[in-house]
């Protein structure tokens, strides 16, 4: 078998363009996918028409909240393109220079200050259904963030005023400062007065008013807490069931490397087997004719041929993937001390992908057909493995789980994720699964290679 391996290496060395494409293409695809996963979406470019007067404030009770509290938050969520008029904003959206426009009308201050009507901004957008969906989602998110910021400001003012009502203090009205008594002080004060008042109707009235003031003070205190709760009713506390929390960038590295490993391995193995058919050498290698030196034996058994091709592909892909991981570890904080575990996970994945590759190659008669078939099989596997549970219907996800179980990509991803990031399930389970799949696809390849021509 060593002569066959040496022959394959020599052929690979003489097919520099093919090798270049086989290495560069998966790595480029993997890096693109990894980049897409690890990067947050860019801020949408939005035209803003701010028709509010400069320095406008929303008046609530005796306090003022600057409109800039709202607009700054809104502007922070998007890439702002300031335009003077609504018409200019429409022109920006129509030309595609901005994906949407937001018009903040001059009466927004008055409406919010009125306390009875809702402020309103206008959103102008364009594009096909997909773009509309993205724009709506982005703008809604930005508006929600801005609303939340404004709500926090209003709550803060309201809580401060309620505190003043409760505890008393200095209240500024129209520039003049005035000392007010708080609700909390009214009840004890009235009770003192009532105690000094002779028994009778006046004393009873004072006692009743003191009781009401005490009741009002208690409930105003509760109202302050309620207001705080209502402004942000639910806060999230996270519990991770298995493994450790994996940063998205680290996971993106694992995705990128595992996709490279799969593409390179499957294409090399499939192409290697298909090449033997394309060159018509398969029959010459595996024919079993009585001979002078090897009676009734093939030059190479089918099993040897498949194993050789799978091992060569696995070895080459393993080296590329390990180099990728080591290279990336210079930029992303990966635990390089676990390189042995990385290698184990990569090797198991490479073997399974090699077996899948020879199974695909055994079905094809030409290298091009094998490559096409390889792409058709493995690319969907990568995308399916990345579909998160709960993002699609339960039945469909169950079907995806079955597909991911019988093909090696998801297990290889999990093994590598566990090796690199310490995520769950552990490396051992995934490796055992991958070895099982190696045997399965090896057997399928043997069946597929039954025919020599």
């Amino acid at each position: 078998m060593r002569w066959l391996l040496a022959k394959d290496l020599r052929i690979l060395a003489r097919s520099r363009l093919l090798v270049g494409v086989l290495v560069v293409y998966p790595v480029a695809i993997a890096l693109l996918i990894g980049f897409a996963i690890s990067r947050s979406p860019a801020k949408p470019r939005v035209a803003i028409v701010d028709e509010t007067p400069p320095g406008a404030t929303i008046e609530l009770g005796g306090s003022r909240v600057g409109v800039s509290e709202y607009t700054d938050e809104l502007f922070g969520q998007v890439q702002v393109v300031r335009v003077p008029t609504r018409a200019a904003a429409v022109a920006k959206v129509s030309s595609g220079d901005a994906i949407a426009a937001i018009v903040i009308p001059p009466d927004i201050v008055a409406k919010i200050s009125s306390g009875v009507s809702q402020g309103e901004v206008e959103v102008i957008y364009n594009g096909d259904a997909l773009q509309q969906s993205i724009v709506r989602s982005s703008i809604d998110s930005a508006l929600a963030q801005a609303n939340l910021a404004l709500s926090r400001q209003i709550k803060s003012v309201a809580v401060r005023d309620m505190g003043l009502l409760l505890a008393g203090g200095q209240l500024g009205v129209l520039g003049a400062s005035q000392e007010i008594i708080g609700l909390a002080h009214i009840a004890p004060t009235l009770r003192g007065v009532a105690a000094r008042t002779p028994p009778g109707a006046d004393r009873a009235t004072l006692t009743r008013i003191a009781g009401f003031a005490a009741f009002a003070a208690r409930n105003l205190g509760i109202a302050k807490d309620v207001l705080t709760t209502v402004s942000q009713p639910i806060a999230a506390r996270s519990t991770l069931l298995h493994g450790r929390r994996t940063p998205l960038s680290d996971f993106a590295v694992v995705v990128a490397v595992s996709i490279s490993l799969m593409l390179l391995c499957v294409l090399l193995a499939a192409g290697g087997i298909a090449l033997e058919r394309e060159e018509h050498t398969l029959a010459r290698l595996i024919r079993r004719a009585p001979g002078a030196t090897r009676p009734a034996r093939a030059l190479v058994s089918r099993e040897q041929l498949l194993a050789g091709k799978a091992l060569l592909a696995a070895g080459a892909a393993f080296l590329v993937a390990l180099a990728m991981l080591l290279g990336v570890s210079a930029f992303v904080a990966l635990q390089a001390s676990r390189v042995g575990v990385w290698a184990l996970a990569l090797a198991a994945g490479a073997l399974a992908f090699g077996a899948l590759g020879v199974a695909i190659g055994a079905l094809a008669r030409e290298v091009r057909a094998a490559s096409l078939l390889g792409f058709l099989v493995v690319l969907p596997l990568a995308f399916l493995a990345l579909v998160p549970s709960g993002s699609i219907a339960g039945g469909l996800y169950a079907a995806i789980e079955v597909i991911s179980f019988v093909f090696p990509y998801k297990s290889a991803l999990q093994a590598l994720d566990a090796a690199v990031n310490g995520s769950s399930p552990g490396v051992a389970i995934s490796i055992v699964h991958l070895l099982g799949l190696t045997l399965l696809f090896g057997a399928l390849a043997r069946v597929g290679l039954r025919s020599a021509e």
């Binding site: 002569w3 066959l4 022959k7 020599r10 052929i11 003489r14 097919s15 060159e279 018509h280 050498t281 029959a283 010459r284 290698l285 024919r287 079993r288 004719a289 009585p290 001979g291 002078a292 030196t293 090897r294 009676p295 009734a296 034996r297 093939a298 030059l299 190479v300 058994s301 020599a452 021509e453």
Partner: protein, 264 residues
């Protein structure tokens, strides 16, 4: 037995049959081939020529019958790779019991040079001295000057020469050539048949299939005529010509086939 007795066949087919599903490709074909014989297998398209050669070469397993090569026999239904005690015994030095096979399409690695292809198959065949075998085949095939040239740059004729040369690396007692001249121009055909003639003169049995029946008359001393899987004739070309009414060999061959199709 590990040596060929005088008159013993180098290659024997015993009642060979082959079915692909319900279709019968070959039916009860038997013949013996002896050292130095040049045997042409001819017949119309679909007659079973390639199937017969594939079975003899060990690429296909027969549905019925057996192939015997000197002392080694491969029977229908026998597990591929199983070695009988006789087969397991290595032949003595100088005995030529192997079967060489050159498929219709040259089976070569186009990215490798002529010498690298020969060397690879010599090693895989377990030839005792691969370099000597490569040198011998380069000389016999006349490709010595192009030994370092990649196969992908060779003409169809030269590829076919390398293809045949590989089949002769282990110095076989019999060589099977499947339509060796089909892709060659007249000059290349002349050189090929000259090469085949020299092989036979050195004692190698050459069994070749061809759809150019005139080649059978010119270069074979014995003709097997297959038609729809049946062996219709086994004899000298002159005898076939006589049976077909004499004259032009091709016309006689067509007449013979037409006559053999008519009910007796």
């Amino acid at each position: 037995m590990s040596a060929l007795a005088p008159g013993q066949a180098v290659l024997s087919a015993h009642g060979l049959g082959k079915r692909f599903g319900s279709r019968v490709a070959l039916r009860d074909v038997s013949f013996d081939a002896h050292a130095g014989e040049r045997i042409a297998v001819i017949g119309p398209n679909g007659a079973g020529k390639t199937t017969l050669l594939s079975i003899l070469a060990g690429v296909e397993r027969p549905s019925e019958g057996a192939v015997q090569c000197g002392s080694h026999e491969q029977e229908a239904g026998a597990a591929h790779g199983a070695r009988s005690p006789l087969a397991a015994r290595r032949p003595e030095r100088g005995l030529r019991l192997a079967i060489g096979w050159a498929p219709q399409e040259p089976a070569l690695y186009s990215k490798l040079s002529v010498a690298e292809n020969l060397r690879l198959f010599a090693r895989l065949e377990g030839v005792a001295d691969p370099e000597a075998a490569v040198a011998r085949m380069l000389e016999q095939s006349g490709l010595g000057e192009r030994s370092d040239e990649r196969v992908e740059r060779l003409s169809g004729g030269n590829r076919q020469r390398v293809n045949v040369a590989i089949s002769l690396l282990c110095d076989p007692g019999a060589v099977l050539l499947d339509e060796p001249s089909s892709a060659l121009d007249p000059g290349q055909r002349e050189r090929l048949w000259g090469f085949v003639g020299r092989l036979a003169s050195r004692g190698t049995c050459v069994v070749f299939s061809t759809h150019i029946v005139a080649e059978a008359a010119s270069f074979a001393e014995r003709v097997l005529v297959l038609d729809r899987g049946d062996l219709r004739f086994d004899g000298a070309p002159a005898e076939l010509a006589a049976r077909g009414g004499g004259g032009d060999f091709e016309a006689a061959f067509v007449s013979f086939l037409a006559a053999s199709e008519q009910p007796a």
